[in-house]
């Protein structure tokens, strides 16, 4: 074994460069994306490498896409802009939540108060709340974890473009730990998921909730495989 072979395994790579290059396995990729949304310095590093390495794309020839691609984009956009079809009462109503939640942190706080009622806490144990921000910094979802009944309620807080043929999967990530799936949520209406008992200890203050885009039915691997579209930390009120 050469000298070179023995040194590297302990070597820490430049995570931002490796993320941009695309050499990371799925889990590390997802962790890099989480840091991207929460650490401005890391985001600046990634931007540096995107500027530098992006130039390599010069050598890839352009290929005109078939015309039906644009039609497909229009269809998917129209589908996502249609109002949610059926609504079950005012607390389940997306329009109601949007009224409170859309694009204003102050109003988002108001709907968090609403969320507490939504979760209908039977005990005095306070729920944990999280605002799941999109990469743009806008709130994408609001979540309330209710330790009393082991549920997490996830409410869309923004007009998200629904991705056809994709599922939205909710993950809990304990500090320094790996993501655990909590099930699928919906970008168009509130969803209450029951946390499996073995995962309840992970749903604590300072754990991160994240939502990723997955193949229909959820991640085939048990770890996030698609991009993380929103994430935020749980905190007690």
């Amino acid at each position: 074994m050469s000298d070179e072979d023995s040194i590297d395994t302990g070597d820490r790579g430049d995570l931002a460069a490796e993320y941009v290059l695309g050499v990371l396995p799925v889990e590390e990729r997802r962790l890099a994306e989480l840091r991207l949304t929460s650490e401005p310095r890391f985001a600046a590093e990634v931007a540096f490498w995107e500027r530098c390495l992006g130039g390599l794309a010069e050598e890839i020839p352009a290929v005109a896409p078939p015309s039906h691609i644009w039609e497909g984009i229009e269809d998917r956009l129209s589908a996502s802009l249609r109002p949610a079809a059926e609504r079950a009462g005012v607390w389940q109503s997306l329009a109601f939540w949007r009224t409170f939640a859309i694009s204003s942190a102050a109003l988002a706080a108001a709907s968090i108060v609403g969320l507490i009622y939504l979760t209908q806490i039977p005990s005095l144990e306070p729920p944990l709340l999280a605002r799941l921000d999109e990469q743009s910094g806008q709130p994408g979802f609001l979540a309330a974890a209710n330790p009393a009944d082991g549920s997490v309620t996830v409410v869309p807080a923004a007009l998200l473009t629904r991705e056809q043929q994709r599922s939205y999967e909710l993950w809990v990530i304990p500090p320094g730990g790996k993501p655990h799936s909590l099930g699928l949520v919906d970008p168009a209406q509130p969803v209450k998921v029951m946390v499996p008992p073995e995962l309840l200890p992970q749903v604590t203050a300072d754990s991160t909730l994240a939502i990723s885009l997955e193949p229909q039915g959820g991640s085939p691997t048990g770890q996030p495989t698609g991009p993380v579209i929103a994430n935020g930390k749980l905190a007690s009120l």
């Binding site: 072979d5 990371l24 396995p25 130039g55 390599l56 890839i60 352009a62 896409p65 644009w70 996502s80």
Partner: protein, 185 residues
């Protein structure tokens, strides 16, 4: 149209997309889709996957346009990053099904492209990048290029080059260090 005019039009177009203007999305699409489709095809090596990912790319552009910041990235840099990220994500989620395909398959697909290559606008950093690549060892630069252009993991790159994983990591990491030192000079 010169590169600077094109860049300014794209910046304006993306800003309009960020305000929910669908006609502007159409404009950005017609200006950039051939380049981005080439990238998706190159990474995925499969036409129907690339077509599907290209749609996702522009839906992502629609969703994230409001957060585009000209001060951080040129419009092409931003778009290329979205196209690469969505393609790499798809490649990973396809898992082993796709991994058996030899890297040459991707080249074959790309070769079917029209020869009139649409040279995309990239700032002077492009020339700089080329110079800096010249300073790398041949195997370092080859590894970094095929990682970027093929969207492969360290493990896949090592298998294809028939070298131990640690060796591949070392080539790429050292190459990146040198590249960074050169680019920051």
């Amino acid at each position: 149209m010169d590169a600077e005019t094109r860049r300014r039009q794209l910046v304006a177009g993306i800003a309009r997309v960020g305000r929910g203007d669908r006609a502007a999305l159409r404009l950005v699409y017609s200006e950039t889709s051939a380049k981005l489709f080439g990238i998706c095809l190159r990474i995925l090596g499969d036409r129907s996957e690339a077509e599907d990912v290209l749609q996702e790319v522009y839906l992502t552009v629609w969703r994230k346009a409001a957060s585009f910041d000209e001060a951080i990235a040129s419009p092409m840099t931003w778009l290329v990053a979205i196209a690469r990220n969505r393609s790499v994500d798809r490649l990973r989620s396809l898992g082993s099904r796709q991994r058996d395909a030899p890297i040459e398959a991707a080249d074959d697909v790309a070769d079917e492209a029209p020869t009139a290559v649409d040279r995309l606008e990239m700032d002077e950093q492009q020339a700089r990048l080329n110079d800096c690549f010249q300073e790398l060892e041949e195997r370092q630069s080859a590894a970094i290029r095929s990682a970027f252009l093929g969207g492969l993991t360290y493990e896949e790159l090592a298998q294809r080059s028939k070298v131990p994983l640690g060796t591949m990591k070392s080539w790429i990491r050292r190459g990146l260090l040198k590249l960074r030192a050169c680019l920051e000079r």
